[in-house]
Amino acid sequence: MKKTVYSICGMCTVRCPIRVEVENNRVSWIEGNPHLMDHALCARGSAGVALLDDDERPQQPLIRDGGRGAGRWRQVSWPTAYDYITEKLKKIKKEYGPESVVLSSRGGPWQSMYKTFIHAYGSPNYTNHDCTCGRNTHHASMSLNGVGRKGFAYDIKNTRHLVLFGRNYFASLQIAQGNQILDMLDNGGRLTYVDVRQTMTGVKADRFFLVRPGTDYALALAVIHEVIKRNLYPKDFIDKYVSDFDELCAFAEEYTPAWAAKECGIKEKAIMAFVDELAEDMPKVIFHPGWNLSRYKDSFYVSRALHILNVLMGNIETEGGLFIPKGPGDCGKKGIRILDCPKPDIKRGDGVGWKYTHFDKGPGLAHLFFEAMRSKSENPYPIKAWIAMRHDPFCGMPEPQRQKLLFDRCDLLVSIDTQYSEFGWYSDVILPESSYLERDNPICLQKGAKPRLIVRRKAVEPKYDTKPSWEIFKQLADRLDISEYFPYNTIEDLYAWQLEGTGYTIRDFEEKGFIDLCDEPIPLYEADRLKDQFKTPSGKIEIISKRLTDAGLPSLKPYEAPDKPVRGMFRLLYGRSAVHTHGHTINNPLLEELMPANTLWINKRAAAKLGIKDGDLLDVTASDASYSGTIHAYVTEFIHPEAVYTVHGFGRQIPLQTRSYHAGLSDQKLMSGKLDDWDKAGGAINLCEAFVFVQRSMRNPKRRIEL
C-alpha cells in the first residue's frame, strides 16, 4: 500500500515542507511539497532515505560505562535511562539548586517545548546554538529596529537589486529563497556579491567584490557615505521613523569610497558604479543583513550597517524590499497554543539580563556559561549539568579540547540527538531521538506575507528503539513532577490542545500538509501604520541605541582595520556546502559519497610561495600548536591571499561513524583561544578571527615503492 505523508524536512534547519511517499513502512520518494515548492528538494533532502537506513546512529538509549569519551556504552531501556537522568537531576537540584542545569537546543519553531521543560524544572538557563550563528544579526536588528532578525522578511522575488555580504545563498541553501533569487535574475534583476572568495552564489552575480577578510564594514560604511552624499535616501521616511540620522551623517563623513577601496583592496570606480546602480534600483534594493555573522570582531556593526543601508534604500515595508511578516492576527485568526512555562526569577548563569543587559534574554549566550563553569567567584552559582537537545557544543563552538575540561566539572551531560554528536560521544547519557521521518513534531506557525500553520508528521515507524522528543520530554517531566506543563499523553492530544479554539483539527493538514491562514497575501502596511512596528524605546528606528550606550558601547563604531596574518600564517575561514549541513550529515552514506572530506582553499600566489600545489596534503596547525590536522589543498586564484577556507563540520572523531571518522579537517579545533573571543556588542563568538600555520605536509609521498 502506497501512502502520501506531508511533513517537514529535517536534514537542515531550513525545514522545507516535503511530501513523502511510503510503501510498506519504507520511504520510496521524498520531494518538496508540490503546493509550496513545486517538488524542488536539495541533495540532503533526498538523502533523508539514507539516514533512515543508516545503522551508524544510536539505536537505543546509552549510558556511559567507561570514562567520558572512551566510547564504552551500556545499552539500556528507555525507563532505565529516564530514571537515571531523573535521579541525577533531582540530586543536582537538591545539592546545587535547579539553576545549575543548562539546556541547549537548536533554535527554531520547536524550542518552546525544551524551554518549557527547563523552566518548569526550575532553571532559567535555556540556551541555543545561536552564539555561533545569527546572534550578531539578531542583536543588530534589535538595537536598530527593536525587533529581531526575523522581524523582517525579504521580498527577493520582486526586488531589482540584491546585495549579499558573504551570504552564500546557494551553499547555505534555502530552496524557496534560492529560487526567488534565480527568478529575480531571470527577470533582469541584479545581484551584487561581496566575499573573500568566489562561491556558488558569487558566480551568479553581476558585480563581485573580492574584499580583504574583515573589511566588510569599510565597504558598507563607504556605501552609506556615498548614499548620504548623493542625497539618495528617502527623507520623508527618515524624518518620520528614524532617530539620530544627523549623527549617522556626521559619522559616515570620513568613510569615503576612495578610503574603502584601499582598505578592502577593490577599485573605487567599482564602488561608485555600484552606488550608481543602487540609485537606479531604489527602493527595490535589498541589503541582506547577514545570517551566520558570528565571524569578525566587528560583524555586529557590519550587520547594523547593512540594516541601516536598507533604511537608506527606503525599502522598509515595500514591494521588492523588506516587509514585516504577517501573523494570524493580520488574518483575523486566532493563533495556536504552544507549550509554555514562565521563566524562573533567578539570574541567568550566562550573565545575560543582569551582567549583560543589552542582549536578548530568550536564549542567552551559550558560550558565556563556560565562565560560570570556570570560576565560582564571579558567578552566582556553578553549572553542574548540561542537556544538549540536538545541539553539539563541540562541533559548533571553538576549542572542544578546552570545553571538555570545563564540562568535566559537570555531574551530568545528556545528549538528545538523532545521531552521535561529538558532545554526545563525550556525554553520560545518549537519548536517541527518532529521525525526522520517524517522528511527529508539534504544529508550528510560519509567519510571512501569507501566514500558515504547518506540521511534521511521522512517515514511517522508527527503525530502531528511538523516541520522538515530545515523548522524551513528557516522560522526563512526569518523573520530575512537572507534567502539568505537558498537557498531553499522545501527539494527538497535543495537536488538539494546540488547535483548541482555532476551528481547525489535525485532519485539516492532511490535504496539503499545511493550512493557509488567509487566501491572498496580506497587503503591505500603509506607510502611516508603521509607527507601532519598531519596538525600540522611542518607537523609531534608532541610529543611536540607548541600550548600547547604557552598556558603554558605541552605536556607530569607528572602523578598525583587521589584523594582518604574520608570515606563514593565514586567517582561517569556514563555510558551507550545499551537500552537507555542518557536522550533521557528514556520515550520511549518500552525502559522504558526494563529499567525503573538505579541502583547504588557498590562494594561488600564496600557495606558490609555500611550494604548495593543488591536491597536495597540507598540515594546518593552530596558532599555539595545540592542534594540527591534515587536509588536501585546493589552490585557486579566487580567494584572498590572507585567508584559507574550509567547509565546517568535518574531522569528526566518533569511531562508530566509520565514514566520517577523521575524514577531513575540523576548523573549530584549530581556533586556539577563540572560546573566549566574543563580540561584546553582538554577543556572538568571533569564529573568523583565528590564524593558522599552513605548510606542505611531510606526508606527501616522495617515492613510491611497490615491492
Partner: protein, 150 residues
C-alpha cells in the same frame, strides 16, 4: 528518433548535486553507481566576476547505441521512443555494455550485480511524470523536453 531530452539551464544551476541523489533514491541505489552527473568548468573571470558553466550528463540514449547489440542476453533494449534501458530480469551483470559504450555509461549495481543506467525513469515517464532528477531539481534548472519532428 529519440523523443526525449534532458536539458540543463546553466544560468539556474547552482551545482548542488541534488539531481544525482534524487536519481539514486528513485532507483534505490547503494553507494557506488551515480547515473547522472553535474560538473562545471574551472572558474574564469568575466568582466570582473569569476563565472562558470555547468553541464549535466547522464546517458545519451544514442540513436544507434553500441550497448544494445553487444548485450549477450538482450537485456539492453531501445524503446520506440528512444529510451535505452536495462531489463533487470534478463541482465546477467557481464557489463559488456559498459565496455561497448564510448563513455562507459552503464554501471554495476553492487547490490544486485546487474547493470544499471539512466532510463529517464521510464516508469515515471510512462505515468506521464518527469524523471526524478528533473522533477525535484532544486532550482528547476533541469527540463525534460519532448521532441517533435518538424
Amino acid at each position: 528518433m529519440n523523443k526525449y531530452l534532458i536539458h540543463l539551464n546553466s544560468k539556474r544551476c547552482i551545482g548542488c548535486h541534488a539531481c544525482e541523489v534524487h536519481c539514486k533514491i528513485n532507483k534505490n541505489l547503494p553507494v557506488g553507481p551515480i547515473l547522472c552527473e553535474i560538473s562545471h568548468k574551472p572558474l574564469k573571470s568575466v568582466k570582473g566576476v569569476p563565472k562558470t558553466e555547468f553541464s549535466f550528463r547522464s546517458c545519451y540514449h544514442c540513436d544507434d547505441p553500441f550497448c544494445v547489440p553487444v548485450c549477450p542476453v538482450g537485456a539492453m533494449i531501445k524503446r520506440a521512443d528512444g529510451i535505452v534501458y536495462v531489463d533487470q530480469e534478463k541482465c546477467i551483470g557481464c557489463m559488456a555494455c559498459a565496455g561497448a559504450c564510448p563513455w562507459t555509461i552503464p554501471q554495476l549495481n553492487p547490490q544486485t550485480n546487474k547493470a544499471i543506467k539512466c532510463d529517464y525513469c521510464l516508469e515515471r515517464v510512462d505515468q506521464g511524470l518527469k524523471p526524478a532528477c528533473v522533477t525535484k531539481c532544486t532550482t528547476h534548472a533541469l527540463k525534460f523536453l519532448c521532441l517533435t519532428e518538424i
